[in-house]
Amino acid sequence: MSEKRIALGLRNITKVFGDKYANKNVSLDVYHGEILSVLGENGSGKTSLMNVVAGIYTPDYGQIFIDGKEVSINSPKDAFSFNVGMIHQHFKLVDVFSATENIVLGIDDGGFDLKKAREKIVQIAEKYGFIIDPDKKIYDMSVSEKQTVEIIRVLYRGADILILDEPTAVLTPQETKVLFNVLRRMRDDGKSIIIITHKLHEVLSLSDRVAVLRKGEYAGTVITSQTNEKELTELMVGGKADLNIHRDEPKNAATRLTVSGINCKNREGVTVLKDVSFEAKAGEILGIAGIAGSGQRELLEAIAGLQKLEDGEVVYIDPKTHEKENLRNKTPLEIREMGVRLSFVPEDRLGMGLVGNMGIVDNMMLRSYRKGHSMFVSRKEPKNLADEIIDRLHIVTPDAETPVRRLSGGNVQKVLVGREIAAAPTVLMAAYPVRGLDIGASHTIYDLLNEQKKKGVAVIFVGEDLDVLIELCDRIMVLSGGAVSGIVNGRQTTKEEIGLLMTKSKEESANEQ
């Protein structure tokens, strides 16, 4: 790589949404045969910048050069004609089509010959080492198979510049490794690869150079081999940052919740939880890891009384009286009336957690409206609570009555977590509480969970980032296909160990148990 040619050049790209700058005067270059990471916190404009290149958004100002020539990209079709292809974070695939049908979609090369297309797909797959079944329907595919289809689609169209938006967010560590090998092979083939990410260790292990964005502005480019995590973080947040997650030793860890042998089916009659047993202890954080859709959501809902159990028991042990109470098939209201203080932060914040069109005060009342004795509700107490949460968690909002859907993702999450914590729970369950949050907001949430742990609350934390799970949790339970494939100590485990447990097939785990 002695002499490098610029494949894609961006000059002063600016994109405005309303009166907010998504990108402001961003200029950067990508060479042929290199992997460039675009790094930045959430909301730093990584995705919108790349959407500009891919023709999804039109820039308000700025120029795009491809192989030295200025071009204007007004639609995804234009982007393809300049050999630019983007693999989006949320896959853009038609579920009822086969892989081949999805790949040829939108290409007009005269004839319509699916057989020929199929052959070409197999060729591409062999060249770069993909594993794909061209006739498989998308709805039968795993997440990583879908991603493979997306990448092949872009290659099929002859793309030389590939943009991947958070490609590893949904993959297990093993799948990530496979993907990275494929990407390296494409780089060696002379292609330019841009990968958008906020995971520092991936940046360091994969890319040749790193471009950093901060609040929509270009913060600089560094050569990967000459940098480290600390420097990148400082570039990213624009100052010194403490990235370590605090973890105390659990104190007086008494069992608070015993789940034994629960089975659960979803509405379609498919088993989603299989013989799940575990204990949650007071004063510790129990992490739950697993590939998306392995039963995490159903497990929490089963405990909260939102899922009907086929069999098994959920036993709650009262911290004061040590009495045991079975929560099986009780409604959330019944559970609350039994005096069990269970708090649940669901993953669907504005669906299950909060009412988007109501203000913070009204959302606080959702949990407390039953306390009154007359038919009228008092708004005084929830108003005080709302103000207190806004103040303590530094929620950015015009006032306490602003509809919560207008707040940013991080602030919405703070409202929800704040409300659940205010109920002084003895068990706190949080599903993906930092999804979509930037580093600062994520750390606020981690601190809140740690604070609850100190107070002797049994915290159950469902997460997707294995690095965070390993740093934050005392114990980590791994779910695979609705069954527990292992419970490991958070202080001693490795990502590889958890990754293996995540993909362990049901048969294997059944044999071991």
């Binding site: 949404f17 891919a54 999804i56 958004y57 639609s75 995804p76 079709k77 393809f80 983007m86 989006h88 853009k92 695939l93 038609v94 579920d95 009822v96 089509f97 049908e101 040829v104 979609l105 939108g106 290409i107 007009d108 319509f112 329907k137 709805y139 379609e268």
Partner: protein
């Protein structure tokens, strides 16, 4: 008796087949057009209006124009309503259900008004009737009479009946086997995906909705010119438009199954004539059968939960690229 029943069932089936093929093409683009009943009414009424004006303006109507003018009028009338629907729902992103129902109300109202008063407006009197044109629409193949039962069952219909079946077969082939068909289905399933793949979503939606509306309009034309023999009766078309939409569900969005389905629906629709001495109220109960069958099909397909038998995924939803 059986042959008569079957050939009557086919006559009932043809308007439904036109309607459902049109609606399937429309729905495959993600547009749920509940204006189809109104569009079918309009197709019939515009056709008969065109024929009436032509028959009254020349002394000896020629067979060529007698067929072409009603056909063109019907296409223009139905296409116009479908275009209004497209503009409101695709360009202005209005609610599809509300727009569709408004189109139906408008189409029926417009047709009933002009169907009832065109003769008066033109300075004549009596009922709106175009016997000459209708006779050309009704003309069956010349050798049909010599073939006995086979002739009655297969060759005794006007040309629009065969056109309906041809259109349905072509539509099935188009959706399954052509690039444009694949891309149209992609638009209805997931417009964001189609857009990212470089397909012009707006164009596909407009064309599919308008062509779908025009095909449905031919159902109304067949009903007026062939089935009723060229005379307008207010409300005579009845609930066939809704039945056509039910047929779309019955056919699980496949025009080739729609052919079979339309014959079943057509048979069920007139079954009460052939079930012995039933009173009028019992007859009305029989007319309910097609809907009942649709509900049963819905229950079965949703129980089997096969993805291919479900409606297009983004059916009824407007699409806007820069939505965040």
């Amino acid at each position: 008796m059986l042959i008569t029943f079957l050939s009557k069932a086919v006559e009932q089936a043809i308007p439904l087949l036109f309607g459902s093929t049109g609606e399937i093409i429309t729905e495959k683009s993600g547009n749920l057009n509940l204006g189809i009943p109104g569009i079918m009414y309009m197709g019939g009424c515009a056709g008969i209006m065109g024929a009436y004006i032509y028959e009254n303006s020349v002394a000896v109507p020629s067979p060529f124009w007698c067929i072409l003018i009603p056909l063109l009028s019907s296409v223009i009338g139905a296409g116009f309503l479908a275009l209004i629907y497209s503009f409101l729902t695709i360009t202005l992103r209005a609610n599809q259900n509300v727009t569709g129902l408004a189109i139906t109300t408008f189409g029926i109202g417009f047709s009933d008004f002009f169907g009832g008063s065109l003769v008066g407006i033109m300075g004549g009197d009596g009922q709106l009737s175009v016997v000459t044109s209708a006779s050309y629409f009704k003309k069956s193949l010349p050798f049909a009479d010599n073939l006995g039962r086979v002739g009655e069952l297969f060759f005794s219909y006007g040309f629009l009946a065969y056109l309906a079946i041809i259109i349905a077969i072509v539509a099935a082939w188009f959706l399954k086997r052509t690039r444009s068909g694949l891309q149209l289905r992609a638009v209805g399933e997931n417009p964001a995906t189609a857009d990212a793949a470089g397909i012009n979503v707006t164009k596909y939606k407009y064309i599919a909705t308008c062509i779908g509306g025009i095909i449905a309009g031919l159902g109304g034309l067949y009903f007026i010119m062939d089935y009723t023999g060229g005379s307008w009766t207010s409300g005579g078309f009845g609930d066939r438009g809704w039945l056509a939409i039910a047929l779309v569900i019955f056919a699980t969005w496949k025009p080739n199954i729609g052919i079979l389905g339309s014959f079943i629906f057509g048979g069920l629709y007139i079954a009460y004539y052939y079930t012995g001495n039933l009173g009028r109220s019992a007859g009305e109960l029989f007319k309910m059968l097609p809907y009942l069958v649709t509900i049963i099909v819905l229950v079965i397909t949703s129980m089997r939960n096969k993805k291919e038998n479900q409606p297009p995924e983004s059916l009824g939803l407007p699409y806007f690229r820069e939505e965040r």
